[in-house]
Symmetry: C2
Subunit: 202 residues, 2 copies
DNA sequence: GCCGAATATGCAGTCACTGCAAAATTGCAG
DNA sequence: CTGCAATTTTGCAGTGACTGCATATTCGGC
């Protein structure tokens, strides 16, 4: 196989190949779902397009949904690390707004991929349950990170988990609003939502 | 079959039988999951214990998870109706606290069943994704109800959806907190959470 | 008691997902 | 470069969720 451009970071050939395979599976899944819709795609086809066996597919992802969503442990850790950092005058909620908005926004590098991902994932209503299920992982990772930042024992107070859960719910609500033909642009709505939350809901 | 005690409310035998079957399936599912755990129970067994064919099982519930969770459209409507009502000086958030807490609390009649349900559902981590998926239905129903109460066009403003989503997230966060061995009792934590939200998070 | 409609069932089939054991690949030491 | 051990891939066989369809049963009104 051709040695590739983006060898990301680390060590041995083994690790690199695993990353490549994982990514290939995720991209294959996105392609196929975009072409035909989630229900009409089989794990066999995804594996085939990625050039591995069906069995190997399940060595990388526990379910078809997970392959399409494709959140990696690294991404999770990177978001958690970002939240753990205490940026000058930012409240936890402000940090969460920045980080969660960043997860949605097409960032500098992966621009098109991120945008495509977003379009495909949100365009498939049948993925909604899996997506919110995936949010549990995100919530747990971010909660732990915020607890470290606040220097409290894990689970000692509700504060951290509540803040994270509410922030994620706010973003989800904006997305849902968007999909139901709601008013306003997503970015702007998210800003408004966080303002409302900081001001106190009634 | 023996004519039963609680014939609930309405009309024909047909409707009553459907309710009975639905309930029987839900109870059978709860029983079996309590005995053996969700993964070790098959839809065939649930159907058998409820006295119907496997095929009929899927006429009532779209998935094994749904059968265990067992939320009915009637329940949804009743919660929505409760939220739609404008109770004296209650803010929307206060109404939501009351209604969502009521969904968890073992109510007057079904006391034991509600408690059992709660224990079983929350005791099965593998059901967590399905549970949050189910929350989407609840969120949609409550959002529509709140929009009626506020007399706004559906989807016109973010307000309703945001409030509902945040309220549900708060309850979920308290449950999650509880399950991770967090401090405090559930009821009390929910109260605190809603107070924090009304006061504004940071 | 009889007919149209709703409901229950059986059957065959697809596909997600798993455990297991054999084969292929990789990293490493000699 | 060569064999060796660990890791990864793969094939295979099996289980079980879920669906469409055709058929039988049951219900409600006449």
């Amino acid at each position: 196989m051709s040695t590739d451009l983006l060898t990301d970071d680390s060590c041995g050939l083994r690790e690199r190949k695993k990353r490549e395979t994982r990514r290939a599976l995720n991209l294959a899944a996105l392609d196929l779902v975009e072409e035909r819709g989630f229900a009409a795609v089989t794990t066999e086809e995804i594996a085939a397009r990625a050039g591995v066996s069906t069995r190997t597919f399940f060595n990388y992802f526990p379910s078809k949904e997970a392959a399409v969503i494709g959140t990696t442990a690294e991404e999770l850790e990177s978001y958690a690390a970002a939240l753990e950092q205490d940026v000058d005058g930012e409240t936890p909620l402000e940090s969460l707004r920045r980080i969660l908005a960043g997860m949605l926004a097409p960032a500098s590098i992966d621009r098109e991929l991120r945008a495509r991902r977003r379009r495909i994932l949100l365009g498939e209503p049948s993925l909604a349950p899996a997506l919110v299920g995936n949010n549990i992982r995100i919530e747990n990772a971010l909660t732990a990170a915020l607890e470290r930042r606040l220097a409290v024992q894990p689970g000692a107070s509700l504060e951290a988990r509540l803040t994270v859960a509410v922030a994620i719910a706010a973003v989800r609500a904006c997305i849902e609003h968007q999909q139901n033909g709601g008013s306003g642009r997503l970015e702007r709505n998210i800003d408004q939502a966080f303002e409302r939350i900081a001001a106190g809901l009634r």
